[in-house]
């Protein structure tokens, strides 16, 4: 997507009308709040900054910009260059329940104009928020109408702006943020390539790489029959399940949520095996594999062997020799015996492993 250029900090603006739900969203995704906790939040004064580290080489610099008219006026005038320069992503939040939708869009256009002046290469994500307040059968239509109207006001970003319907009460929030994060990761391509190789080697049905604090999916690889998994929203669901569990553990162990991480989780059943283990400093890997103890054990060994490769990608010091590296790692592991018994006929790829 946008590989090559490595930036340490990526500036992300979070904007929208006061009360639209910007800070609620941020607290849930990045600060371990549960949906009902956000009632405690007050209005954001001016700009609140937070730094979130993703995969080592991606440092999110999130600007939560208070949406009251006075502040917005200030962003557009005195602080115009300060706020809108070198922006990687603008996330603009619309409240679906807003009574002054036309006015919201006018405010949106003036912000878009300021962005175009200062950071013409930025990407714009529009989140149409609080969708839970709309009756289920009307949601899609209303969302599309609004999105078209907003797109028309998007000026230079007309063709690239993306729209997402969100709510803090279901996994749609995670779905939208997963897309945003994916866009921001500079070397998503090479991470994905390495992950796909790993999946081939360990014969995984699915691998999901996610960030530890936010539980947001960084990327995933799906193989074979698993692509028919009827739960197409499973990545968001898993984010949401893990986040809920993290909160439950934090509550009962009296640890703060940011350190109540599990080192490993395994679920073994007659239909599948699933485990989550730490991959790099900031990421965990979730693997769904066929129900076999052999594959399970081999997968765990292989993952621990491949860790340094991901760590290199993480730091961003590695050049693009991922393929050679992973093969060496596996070659020295003596996994040949395990591979043998279960290799498919006519399958060329795993040959390189031995």
């Amino acid at each position: 997507m946008n590989t090559g250029k490595r930036q340490k900090q990526r500036k992300v603006l979070l904007m929208g009308k006061s009360g639209a739900g910007k800070s609620s969203m941020r607290s849930i995704v990045f600060s371990n709040y549960v949906a009902k906790d956000v009632r405690r939040l007050g209005a954001t004064i001016d700009v609140e900054h937070s730094n979130i580290k993703f995969m080592g080489n991606l440092m999110l610099n999130l600007w939560d910009c208070g949406g009251q008219d006075g502040f917005v006026e200030n962003y557009l005038t005195h602080q115009r260059a300060h706020v809108f320069s070198s922006v990687a992503v603008l996330i603009f939040v619309f409240d679906i329940e807003s009574r002054e939708f036309a006015a919201d869009v006018i405010s949106y256009s003036s912000i878009i104009r300021a962005l175009q002046e200062n950071s013409p290469s930025a990407k714009v994500f529009v989140l149409i928020h609080k969708m839970d307040l709309v009756q289920a059968r009307l949601r899609q239509q209303l969302f599309e109408e609004r999105a078209e109207y907003i797109r028309a006001a998007s000026e230079g970003f007309k063709d690239t702006v993306e729209f997402w319907a969100t709510s803090i009460w279901d996994q749609s929030l995670y779905k939208a943020w997963t897309q945003i994060i994916y866009y921001l990761i500079p070397n998503a391509g090479s991470i994905e390539a390495l992950l796909r190789q790993l999946a081939e080697v360990i014969d995984a049905r699915e691998l999901i790489l996610y960030e530890r604090t936010t539980c947001l999916t960084v990327t995933h690889v799906t193989r074979g029959l698993e692509e028919r998994n009827p739960f197409t929203d499973r990545f968001e669901r898993i984010s949401s399940i893990l986040k809920t569990h993290k909160q439950s553990m934090a509550k009962h162990t009296n640890l703060p949520p940011n350190i109540a991480n599990f080192a490993e989780m395994q679920i073994k059943t007659g239909r599948f095996m699933f485990f989550i283990t730490r991959l790099t400093e900031n990421t965990n890997l979730a693997a769904a594999i066929p129900p076999s103890e052999q594959i399970f054990n081999a997968a765990r060994v292989n993952i621990s062997l491949v860790r340094p490769r991901f760590a290199e990608l993480d730091i961003g010091s590695a050049k693009a020799s991922a393929r050679g590296g992973i093969q060496q790692a596996f070659a020295s592991s003596g996994m040949g015996a395990v591979e043998d018994g279960r290799r498919r006929d006519g399958e060329g790829e795993s040959g390189g492993v031995e």
Partner: protein, 382 residues
Amino acid sequence: MRYLQELPDADIPHTEMPPRYHTGRLPNSKAGDDKPRLLLMGQPRSGKSSISSVVFHKLPPSETLYLETTTRIKKESMHSFMDFQVWDLPGHVDYFDPSFHVDHIFEEIGALIWVIDAQDEYLEAIMQLNKTILNLQHSYPSINVEVFVHKVDGLSDDYKADTFRDIIQRVTDELSDHGYENAPVSFYQTSIYDHSIFEAFSKVIQKLIPQLPTLEALLDSLCQSCRIEKAYLFDIMSKIYIAADTSPTDGGSYEIASDYIDVVIDVSEIYGWDRTLALEVEEEEIRGESGCNDAESLITMERKGNHYLYLREINKYLALICLMGDDSPAEKKAVIDYNVGVFQTALKQVFPRAEREPPGHHHRYEGVEFGHDEPAAVGVGR
């Protein structure tokens, strides 16, 4: 008396096959095929239907605001290690009206759950409760009366404790005034917004299990041999626990265990889909050997490096959940596995019902089974 006439047509939950075992026979249940009952009673709007929706239908608590007032008896079945029915009785009917066929309702019941709204005036409710207890005392003296002091989530801690004490005082005083000392009445503080309702239901149901002391002894010895801090035997679907070891708890452990089941069930739902449906695709090889027959799961916490939580599917309905302490033998999972295996065998002897159902007897709840009952999905070699 409309309600009486409607009784035979009341909503009887769908079952695919009549239960074959009745090992969990209740103390006062007749030999008949009817399932033991739990009756939910109380004033209108005290929260009876909300309770049964949340516990047995997994309705999100916030949705219960939209439930309509119950006007006829609603019957819920719980299919588990033992089958029983929960009857939700409309609150505004006088069941001791002479024209009512009292026996029809009260025979065979295992427990009467009386729900009192703690946020409302409760004097009338207490009066009704005592009237019911006194009426039942003669014909059905062995019925357990369980009082749920409900909706306590809205009360401050002090006020909650005062209300609870006041209700207990009033009920026992009034009963002894009528010469009924030491009535079999228990009290619980409950709310559908946290785990308390599930814990209260667990206690109610545990009283109806004749094998409870045996189960507890088994769990105790398991805990001792593996240095487990706390062990629960859960009914997977309802998240009611039917037994726990007898060590004292700090209250939070039930919640950890119950949240843990959620994680395992949710993940199992996502990846346990039926692959045979997509089998025309030839790429996916299906292996002759399969992993484990019983689902098991393990969570290790980073901070301690010990096996923190352990889950093992015991049979179709039950799961064992163990909370490990700091000094649990983390590296000795094999020992735990072995001992749990022993526990499983022992349980089968205590509970013949705990044996596997023959293939084809499907679990009533879609998407939560762990998949072992259809070995074809993983067992066909190519």
